[in-house]
């Protein structure tokens, strides 16, 4: 089989073994590595289309591997984190990881996230992005919901644009603030919460139970297609 190549990095041999079999069963070609060094060597030798990466490795951590990987590869990275590793998880996301699952995870969830990050990778910088009933025209700076035009302030539009351009991907508070307000505002999380709540009132059918703009507690936000499986 010659499916998309996925690199799995974990130092627990049993987890590695189970993930290898699972991903092979889902039609992927699987490479595996047990240390940070092995992971980077494998990724350099045969560039993967996606990486599943444990946060804690015997010779380093997932954040450093993500950062190193990001300097020459745009393959999406899904981080395997554990309860109690929240800070490390955010650091890895800030360093460029695309998503995370918490151990012990369900196979379905991991496979869905993997599909989502791989699908996103195929989409180039399209001037018009569609997510469910949402349609965002980046060049005209126009957003519509079900054909109805939505009035957005410049910051609201930029926030929606960044989320839409990365739809399905978890964006940390820091990443969103940096993209929309600029690097000087990276720590002003309350800006973000206020604008997210404005945005929800304008794009969500029911702002009190959002279906598009989802909160990832303690991590950030994610724009999803309500029809998707994630």
């Amino acid at each position: 089989m010659s499916g998309q190549r996925v690199l799995v990095v974990d130092d627990e041999p049993q987890i590695l073994r189970a993930l290898r079999a699972t991903l092979r069963g889902a039609g992927y070609t699987v490479e595996s590595a047990a240390t940070a060094e092995e992971a980077l060597t494998a990724a350099a030798a045969r560039p993967p289309e996606a990486v599943i990466l444990d946060l804690v490795l015997p010779d380093g951590n997932g954040t450093d591997v993500t950062r190193e990987l990001r300097s020459w590869s745009d393959a999406p990275v899904i981080v395997l984190s554990a309860v109690g590793e929240e800070r490390a998880k955010i650091a890895a996301l800030d360093a460029g990881a695309d998503d995370y699952v918490t151990k012990p995870f369900s196979v379905d969830e991991l496979l869905a996230r993997l599909r989502a990050v791989l699908r996103r990778r195929g989409q180039a910088a399209d001037p018009v992005i569609e997510v469910g009933d949402l349609r965002i025209d980046v060049t005209e700076r126009v957003a519509t919901v079900g054909g109805e035009r939505v009035k957005l302030s410049p910051h609201e539009f930029d926030l929606l644009r960044v989320l839409a351009q990365n739809h399905g991907k978890l964006l940390t508070h820091r990443a969103l603030l940096r993209e929309v307000w600029g690097p000087a505002y990276e720590v002003e999380a309350h800006y973000l919460h206020v604008y997210v709540s404005h945005l929800r009132r304008k794009i969500e059918p029911d702002p009190s139970s959002p279906r598009y703009l989802l909160t990832e507690p303690g991590a950030g936000y994610r724009l999803v297609d309500p029809g998707d499986d994630v």
């Binding site: 627990e12 049993q14 987890i15 189970a18 995870f105 196979v107």
Partner: protein
């Protein structure tokens, strides 16, 4: 604190300090002597000076007596002096009558002078004594304050403080006890040490010894206040130490919890992933992959159950709930059975003596199995682990020698801590085996320790007390 409060302290207040017979005798003899000497001097000087004016010389007898013994002796000495003057020098001599009324007047003046002078001298003497006493008291308080501020343990100081206080109070000895008052020891009078309406402690002086009352009233409140400060400081220090110990034990517990949760989660993740994959109808699993997933479940559930068993053993050991059931065993049999439970007969070589031990067989087998398993884990795959049994008159020792990387000096003790992992090794179990081995060894009256030189392999040793072979078992 069911003890009734001690009776209120009633210190007897002597108006005149009771004097010993010896002091009185010496005083009286000296007084007589002094009067005699002055009388003699007047006899010598009389030819040259009008005799009446010489009466004033008796002041030199009265004055030293007043200074040394006080007014109670100086007054009789004044009277005695005047009588002697009258008897020996005033006409008609050798009678107590006086011919001349002028002489009566002179005699009265001399007597008054002597009394006034002796009173002045006695007063000066009292002042000096009181000043000395206060100086002693404040010196003691100052020293005490310095010592206590310097952070000396109060308990160590109490004896010294007691004997110094005894000097200040003018009693032979004094004992200080901190805390609420108890029944006083026999033959002692208690004085409460109170500060800020709280009883700091009690000071006991021997019954019947008259403490200096003024000093008691002056000195004890100050001493109480100082002791109260010291007690409070001791308490705070102890609390700080306890808080520190608690904080450390919290840190240890957090670390343990973290380690346990990691060790539980890893096999769970393996199992959950494998089960999820096997149940997922959309996956196309090859037979080989199916086999891999099943083996993951098998190995990880075995790992989980071992970990849970280890944790239970450890908590039982720590709670003292692993009471051994001793029986007589030949130690080499226990070693061989331990090797068999590990299924490691081919890789372990057992040699040495067969001493008799009185231990819980299951527990000691567990100790040996853990030591041997540990040795196998750190040896190269095809290397042999050597087990040597030796016996002295008192102890049987099993040494498990591996050919692994050995231990650093600072690891020799730490390897026995729960969850300690050697080096960067992350897949060698939870790090509980050696801790459990040590716990079971101790429960059976034995010891476990590690010996090693880095690069030469490690030796783990178990020592157990040996038993005399009972007569009926002897061949």
């Amino acid at each position: 604190m069911s003890d009734p409060p001690p009776p209120a302290v009633r210190s007897s207040v002597p108006l005149v300090k009771r004097l010993s017979a010896r002091t009185v005798t010496i005083g009286v003899l000296c007084s007589i002597g002094a009067v005699a000497v002055v009388t003699g001097v007047i006899f010598l000087v009389k030819p040259y000076v009008p005799v009446l004016s010489l009466g004033v010389l008796y002041v030199f007898a009265v004055l030293p007596i007043a200074v040394v013994w006080g007014l109670w002796l100086a007054l009789p000495v004044s009277v005695l002096s005047m009588l002697a003057f009258n008897w020996f020098f005033l006409p008609p001599v050798h009678t107590f009558t006086l011919a001349d009324s002028e002489n009566w007047f002179a005699l009265a003046v001399y007597l008054a002078t002597a009394v006034v002078v002796s009173e002045l001298a006695a007063r000066a003497r009292r002042r000096a004594a009181s000043a000395e006493q206060r100086e002693r008291e404040s010196a003691l308080l100052a020293e005490l304050a310095t010592e206590l501020l310097r952070g000396r343990e109060l308990g160590e100081e109490l004896g010294e403080v007691g004997s110094r206080t005894a000097i200040v109070l003018g009693v032979p000895e004094a004992t200080i006890e901190l805390g609420p008052a108890h029944r006083p020891p026999p033959d002692s009078s208690p004085h409460l040490l109170e500060a800020a309406d709280r009883t700091v402690g009690t000071i006991y002086t021997p019954a019947g010894s008259d403490a200096n009352v003024a000093a008691l009233h002056r000195f004890l409140p100050a001493l109480s206040a100082l002791l109260a400060v010291a007690v409070e400081r001791d308490r705070l220090e102890r609390e700080a130490l306890e808080a520190e110990a608690l904080r450390r034990s919290d840190l240890v517990k957090t670390a343990l919890l973290r380690a346990v949760s990691h060790d539980l989660r890893s096999p769970l993740t393996g199992i959950r992933t494998a089960v999820g994959a096997l149940r997922n109808a959309t996956l196309h699993l090859s037979d080989e992959d199916r086999g891999e997933l099943l083996e993951t479940i098998d190995l990880d559930s075995e790992r989980l159950s071992r970990l849970v068993g280890d944790l239970l053993d450890l908590s039982r050991l720590e709670a003292g709930g692993a009471a051994p059931e001793p029986e007589l065993w030949s130690l080499d049999d226990l070693v061989r059975e331990a090797v068999d439970t590990l299924g490691a007969r081919g890789r372990v070589e057992v040699a040495g003596e067969a001493p008799l031990v009185n231990v819980d067989g299951t527990q000691v087998q567990r100790v040996l199995a853990n030591l041997i398993e540990n040795a196998l884990k750190f040896s190269p795959p095809d290397a042999t682990v050597h087990v040597r049994i030796t016996a002295t008159r008192k102890e049987a020792i099993v040494r498990v020698v591996d050919q692994g990387p050995g231990l650093e000096e600072d690891e020799l003790e730490r390897v026995f801590e729960p969850f300690y992992r050697r080096g960067s090794d992350t897949r060698s179990g939870a790090g509980l085996g050696l801790a459990i081995a040590r716990g079971f060894a101790a429960a059976n009256g034995g010891r476990v320790w590690a010996e090693s030189r880095p690069g030469q392999g490690a030796t783990f040793a178990l020592a157990l007390p040996v038993v005399e072979v009972p007569a009926e078992l002897r061949a």
